[in-house]
Symmetry: C2
Subunit: 369 residues, 2 copies
């Protein structure tokens, strides 16, 4: 699998005239070779010339963690007193177009620019890897599906009243949901937003010491990473709101509009449809219903090894969905100082139509918890 | 406090001829303004011209998370369809020397280089912030101390046999230690290495499904982040080894040598001493005792808002320790396929001599757990 991905990457490099690909921290490296670099000041970097052997430059004390794959890459451990940037530059050779991983620490990019040939053109590695990673193969879709099913089980526990809410802080509930993600098989919790009442009007609210009260609507947006034998993990991401009592009419009305808009957007996600059209399928009815200025973010983001990746479901993205594209559909309505609502599923575009991976109840469930 | 730090940063920029400082994800931003950027594809960046107002460019949906400090920075939220890179470039103006945060995603550095004036010189922000952040003020030392005391309490629980070991997997013990770090007051677990038997020969071993057995030596290296009202958190980091039964003579001998070397290195950490001399104070006796080729890493790293930061206690670093420098002293001895040992404290250089913040028992404690 990794050898096959390497071939596709080399072909894309050739098509774009890229001489060398440099990958460090971030999702490209585990996707390509099954190894995740530690985010440390000690540089780990895969050097992949368009032609010639790939080499993983790695701190000697990380080397024991690497599962060697001699058919895919050579290993070049560096010692504590060595300069890994010089080692990378030597392996890269006289490149005139260099692609570097989007999440590589900027300091290393500057260091490399200082020692590699002047006048080289530097581009984001995602120009090469983004379109390849966006098209999930069947094993990747299967991993996203089991991750989504695990997230659904946690959502069902929330909706079933098994997650105590009233009288606990948002932070406590967030920790509880995180533990449930692990219990259901994720190997890492990426986030667990719990936003009660007016806090839900901030889409990325940080769960804090606020105590959840009767009558509040609680927005929960959570996800983790599901391990696979390939060495790369795949992400889940789901949002459900629950209500600790009958919601006020304006909230119930807004939720009805939101649910319909979300479903319309999912239904629009056919192969060949532009990403911006999928965004519009959620946005247009909300604008028509008067919620336009309260839907303050894009409709969704791609998902895979990375929580957010190509394709982005956003106005201005005219790229067409392809079979295997996996992404969130998550419109929201936010009323500052009062309440917020969001509804999110992960969807895969397939030749047989849009496939929603999340099946947890889509209604604003009343819970007594 | 933030205004005072801003003044020191501007003075350092002037001394180094830097026109604008650009800070995104990573520890510089919370240290300087109390806000931590989310590691997302949506750019958050502080633009600090050497003269003129600082501005925090932030995605609109993150803006509610920002604690506004109008005396320190202006807020510039950007909308989903806007280009934040262009917004940063406009605020930065015609800079000829640009400093950018070391951990800024490389993709954003390339994007900024593409739209900011050609021919500008780009340098790491740590050239400005590193020396300033390395010298901890009394409040920062106090935060490191309470974090170290909390880590010590967890180490004491480990050494006191309160953390079950035998029959559990490394991963389970790692999760247990992580939970204890939170219970003792950390707000985030950064890592909890648990390496049993031969696994400890890999300094950054990832705790896995291996079941811990009677008779093994178990290396535990763990730390978290301690919250402070300033908005920046400070890190703990400690390593202790425990033995599930009397260790073999070669392990006991190695531990004695390691403990003496670690104590000698701590004792050497006076203001004015070169970092490389502190490294040598641990390394020389281990080399003399025949362990030189098994001590495969530097002696330590600075610590503060970041787990690893300036100053690095490593051969080749001739910089002298200054009052307020805080760093780890953590020599190790690793025998591949057999066992590994490491002993680590956090130490602050003060005018009254080296101050070791960790006080947990430094011996190879026998535990029955």
């Amino acid at each position: 699998m990794h050898a096959e991905r390497m071939d596709r990457v080399r072909a894309a490099m050739a098509a774009q005239g890229i001489d060398v690909l440099l990958l460090s921290v971030g999702p490209d490296l585990p996707w390509l070779v099954g190894y995740e670099a530690m985010p440390l000041e000690r540089l780990t970097m895969l050097v992949l010339p368009r032609e010639g052997e790939a080499t993983l430059v790695v701190p000697r004390l990380e080397a024991p963690r690497v599962v060697e794959r001699p058919d895919v890459f050579a290993l070049r451990p560096w010692e504590e007193a060595e300069d890994p940037v010089a080692a990378v530059a030597a392996l890269a050779g006289p490149a005139s177009v260099v692609a570097v991983g989007d999440r590589t620490w900027g300091g290393f990019v500057l260091d490399l620019q200082g020692v590699m040939p002047g006048g080289a053109r530097w581009v984001r590695a995602s120009a090469v890897t983004g379109p390849l990673r966006a098209r999930k193969d069947p094993e990747e879709v299967a991993a996203l599906r089991v991750a989504a099913e695990a997230a659904d089980r946690v959502a069902a526990q929330l909706q079933g009243g098994e997650v105590p809410l009233r009288g606990r802080t948002e932070a406590q509930v967030s920790a509880d949901i995180g533990q449930r993600l692990l219990d259901e098989g994720h190997h890492r919790v990426n986030f667990a937003i719990v936003a009660a009442g007016a806090h839900a009007a901030s889409p990325h609210h940080e769960p804090g010491e606020a105590v959840i009260e009767a009558g509040q609507v609680v927005l929960c947006d959570f996800g983790g990473t599901w391990p696979t034998p390939s060495g790369a993990g795949y992400c889940s991401d789901i949002t459900r709101c629950v209500s600790l009592g009958p919601p006020p009419p304006e909230v119930a009305d807004a939720y009805d509009a939101l649910r319909a808009a979300q479903a319309a957007s999912v239904a629009a996600a056919d192969v060949g449809t532009a990403c911006e059209a999928v965004d519009a399928a959620a946005r247009d009815p909300l604008v028509a219903a008067g919620y336009g200025d309260r839907f303050i973010h894009r409709t969704g983001h791609g998902i895979g090894v990375e929580e957010h990746e190509d394709p982005y479901i956003v106005a201005g993205n005219a790229a067409a969905l392809e079979a295997g594209h996996a992404f969130s559909v998550e419109p929201g309505i936010y009323t500052p100082g009062a309440w917020g609502l969001r509804l999110e599923d992960i969807v895969v575009a397939t030749d047989a139509g849009p496939l929603a991976l999340n099946r947890a109840d889509h209604s604003l469930v009343l819970v007594d918890a």
